[in-house]
């Protein structure tokens, strides 16, 4: 059936409101519509150049939609077509161009915290350059590294070093590789073999270079054996099986489990405990920490893993960053305390950090 329509072309003022959504990549526009009269059907189109695309069939008189997948380089117009009885009315918005932001203002509080924290760390680094010594509280797990390496030397058995199962993009893996350098140097001084099975191919190449460089730095390149740092498998439980087998057959005297671990943590550490090896573990995975605590002799909890490199090297520049961390923790504690007290009095403050 063909309807004889009376067509109106109307300015969209008050009917269609199109605005840019801030803090995005310029791919979204907010379209608000308010149809002034009752209607049978309505169609909302996005018009760009000659192209017209239906984006919604409104059923209510008013509504808001977020039009996505746009380009910040193009201009857009929105057209609302409303049918009522024999009348057809068209409303058109003005041309709007989405804006791509260069700074996400919603992240401003986080940006300030990052700047503050970086400033604190730089301050303490500068402080360390002046040569003042900084006190570090004793961490049992790190004090035991020498003892653990010495034990392996006395027993004439190798050391096993597991740098976690995660990839190099995980900071815990980087922390574990930093400690690997210290442990290798120590093992090299005593001429003790160190075995490093790795799960991730990229981590394998880095671990290999670290071990090689560590032997070079203590003047013992002859101790480096390329078969001691090896790629085991990328399968999680395949890796657990391989490392467990290595612990049992090689009778490793000392096991280091440092880095990121998942469900295999208990399989590894319990097997190590059953062989009688001295075990030092460290991870930032909160769910795996209890397993390591009950099965290992020493466990580095969370941030202690990151502090290990500074602690072992005793380099003032590295220890200075630990002081920066502590200062930031004090600030966080004060903020948490202050906000909690305000909350008790019914004053709710949100910092917008997350």
């Amino acid at each position: 059936m063909v309807l004889n329509l009376i067509v109106f072309m109307l300015a969209a003022s008050g009917v269609l409101k199109v605005t840019d959504i801030p803090n995005d990549d310029g791919s979204r526009l907010k379209v608000e519509y308010l149809i002034p009269e009752s209607f049978d059907s309505a169609f909302l189109y996005r018009v760009s150049g000659d192209k017209s695309v239906l984006i919604k069939r409104p059923t209510n008189k008013e509504g808001v939609i977020v039009d996505m997948g746009l380009s910040y380089k193009k201009e857009y117009r929105y057209r609302l077509v409303v049918y009522a009885d024999t009348m057809k009315k068209e409303y058109e918005s003005a041309l709007v161009k989405p804006r791509a932001s260069w700074f996400d203002t919603s992240q401003f509080p986080l940006f300030i915290v990052v700047i503050l924290y970086t400033g604190l760390l730089l301050f303490y680094l500068q402080h360390a350059r002046s040569g003042k010594s900084l006190y570090l509280r004793p961490i049992a797990g790190l004090q035991a590294v020498d003892e653990a390496v010495g034990r392996a030397t006395e027993m004439g058995r190798p050391i096993l070093y597991v740098p976690g199962l995660s990839s190099i993009s995980d900071v815990a893996t980087i922390a574990a590789l930093n400690i690997l350098s210290h442990v290798t140097k120590k093992a090299g001084e005593y001429e003790t073999k160190i075995l490093v099975p790795v799960r991730d191919p990229v981590v394998y190449t880095i671990a290999r270079e670290i071990v090689k460089e560590a032997y070079y730095s203590i003047g013992r390149p002859d101790l480096y054996n390329e078969n001691d740092v090896f790629f085991a498998t990328d399968s999680q439980f395949g890796y657990a099986a391989h490392v467990s087998g290595t612990m049992v057959r090689e009778k490793t005297a000392t096991n280091f489990f440092l880095g990121m671990f998942w469900a295999e943590s208990l399989i590894l550490s319990e097997t190590g405990a059953s062989t009688g090896a001295i075990q030092i573990a460290g991870t930032d995975a909160v769910t795996q920490l209890p397993f390591f605590i009950v099965t290992c002799d020493y466990t580095l909890m969370g941030e202690e893993l990151y502090a290990a490199s500074a602690y072992l090297s005793k380099e003032p520049m590295l220890t200075a960053t630990l002081k920066g961390q502590d200062a930031m923790k004090i600030i966080i504690l004060v903020v948490i305390g202050a906000l909690s007290i305000l909350n008790l009095f019914g004053v709710h403050v949100t910092l917008g950090l997350f």
């Binding site: 990549d25 260069w102 924290y117 930093n178 350098s181 270079e209 090896f230 439980f237 590295l318």
Partner: protein
């Protein structure tokens, strides 16, 4: 000397850009991020080749040692078999490669995973021996938590509430404490590497 300076300079430049990238939603920033991801995948692919050479060499050397020989032989043969099967029959649905994965590798992994229950029992026995005040506290807490998740425990007055309190207050507080320390530690480690203070990843 350049062997150290070039990587350190690259880490500084890309570290600073990547940090700022997080705060910039502009498409150019996203393009940079995507390019970096592609580079990571590219570098990772090359590392796989080196890793496989390492895998084969490691097990080849071990073939000469009596205690390791059977396991290394299985590892090498399995690797060669899967490679051959993958090249000849493909890796699609119904292929031998896929069947080997589903009917051999997956059950083997599940077997290793199931061992956890035994390890958990022995680890729990060791953890819950009431040798000190802390260990006794742990034992009591663990008993309440485990008891309250049983059908019977759920109906004992006060027990579900106790579980709720343990999980929401002391447990959550310690988890959050660790989380704050971990976050600050990981940022500090990243900054140390970006600023070139931490150089152990270069071998010390």
């Amino acid at each position: 000397m350049l062997q150290r300076k070039i990587p350190l300079a690259m880490v500084f430049v890309f570290g600073v850009i990547s940090t700022l990238q997080y705060f910039v939603p502009h498409p150019l920033s996203q393009q940079y991020y995507d390019t970096m991801l592609k580079w990571m995948i590219g570098v990772g692919s090359m590392a796989i080749f080196l890793a496989l050479v390492s895998f084969l060499r490691h097990h080849y050397v071990r073939l000469r040692k009596k205690e390791h020989a059977p396991y290394s032989a299985v590892a090498i043969l399995s690797f060669l078999f899967m490679t051959l099967v993958g090249f000849i029959g493909g890796m699609g649905p119904g292929s031998v490669f896929q069947k080997m994965f589903y009917y051999v590798q997956a059950p083997l992994q599940a077997t290793m995973f199931s061992l956890l229950s035994y390890y958990m029992a022995s680890a729990s026995y060791r953890a819950f021996r009431a040798k000190s005040f802390e260990a006794t506290l742990l034992l009591i807490t663990a008993f309440i938590v485990m008891f309250s998740v049983t059908t019977f425990g759920n109906y004992v007055p006060g027990v579900p509430k106790a579980l709720e309190w343990i999980m929401a207050v002391p447990n959550m507080a310690s988890k959050r404490g660790i989380a704050i320390g971990v976050s600050l530690g990981s940022i500090a480690t990243s900054l140390k590497i970006i600023l070139g203070v931490e150089r152990n990843w270069l071998g010390g």
